[in-house]
């Protein structure tokens, strides 16, 4: 299987900036995403993977709470979800609902104009 390289834009803004509170938006999205039928939980995303790797390298304990990752680059927004699903619905049906929920939440949570929204949904497992 082949994947086309994605265009990756550097993260130039984080935290609270221009009406965008990253932690608050992330918390809101986490609640919405885990409330979608068929989503059984979140898996470690990039931050979680890095926290685990850093703990391994530095021989320390460390972990990141499981959450939907969200960041802003200029007017564009990036969202990453690493999710566990059950088999109650087809995967694509759940993914479409995730996209819809995220779009609504972002429109409500962000002040000012929103550029492109890059949503990266990763289905880690699907339990029976």
């Amino acid at each position: 299987m082949t994947e086309k390289p994605r265009v990756v834009k550097p993260r130039v803004e984080s935290g609270t900036s221009r009406g965008f509170d990253e932690a608050a938006v992330s918390a809101r999205l986490t609640e919405s995403v885990t409330g979608v039928d068929g989503v059984t939980g979140l898996a470690p995303g990039l931050r979680g993977m890095i926290a685990n790797a850093a703990a391994q390298v530095m021989r320390r304990t460390g972990s990141e709470p499981l959450r939907v990752e969200v960041w802003r680059t200029g007017e564009d927004l990036g969202v990453r979800i690493d999710a566990h699903l059950d088999d109650s619905r087809p995967v694509t049906e759940i993914v479409d609902e995730l996209f819809a929920v995220i779009a609504v939440d972002l429109q409500a949570a962000v002040d000012g104009p929103i550029g492109e929204i890059d949503i990266d949904v990763h289905i880690v497992s699907r339990s029976r």
Binding site: M1, T2, E3, V8, L46, I50, A54, T92, F99, I123
Partner: protein, 157 residues
């Protein structure tokens, strides 16, 4: 996540690592090459769990653990009497790419099974499972018979 997608997200990963390290304030002695080692571990973990990039009918892209999709296909193959799955390979296909898949299977067949009709059953079973469980159609399902086995359970009946 495939190795390719990890390459594509290196810049993003490095950004998060930098952010993470600021919070950690490691000892100077520890920090030599620390970022590169963390990146390497994350990349290695990602390679161990490859993902397939698919797209919903509405055009929403997503990645799904390749092992999960293979498991769905394998179960559909094994549901056909006299047939057992061996290798399962899937390739994103369709327009846009990932809106469908192409599947290549190798199977074992029990002695006395008519392969041509069994292969059709396999195709129907796999196509049905992919639509019902993943929501993605199969454009092509190639079935290659690799081996024959004696079905002792069937012989006992």
């Amino acid at each position: 996540m495939s190795d390719e997608s990890v390459n594509a997200t290196d810049a993003h990963l490095r950004g998060i690592i930098d952010e993470y390290m600021e919070a950690f304030e490691p000892d100077p002695a520890e920090s030599i090459g620390l970022r590169e080692r963390i990146l390497q571990i994350v990349r290695e973990d990602a390679v161990l769990a490859p993902a397939t990039k698919l797209t919903t009918e509405r055009g929403n892209p997503f990645r799904i653990s390749t092992a999960e999709v293979r498991g769905i296909i394998r179960e559909a193959v094994d549901a056909v009497p006299g047939i057992r799955a061996r290798s399962v390979n899937l390739t994103p296909a369709g327009e846009p790419e990932g809106s469908a898949v192409e599947v290549a299977l190798t199977v074992m067949m029990s002695v006395g099974t008519a392969f041509v009709s069994a292969a059709e059953d396999v195709r129907r079973s796999v196509a049905g499972a992919l639509i019902a469980q993943v929501g993605i159609p199969a454009l092509r399902i190639d079935v290659t018979l690799e081996d024959v086995f004696v079905d002792e359970e069937a012989g006992d009946d």
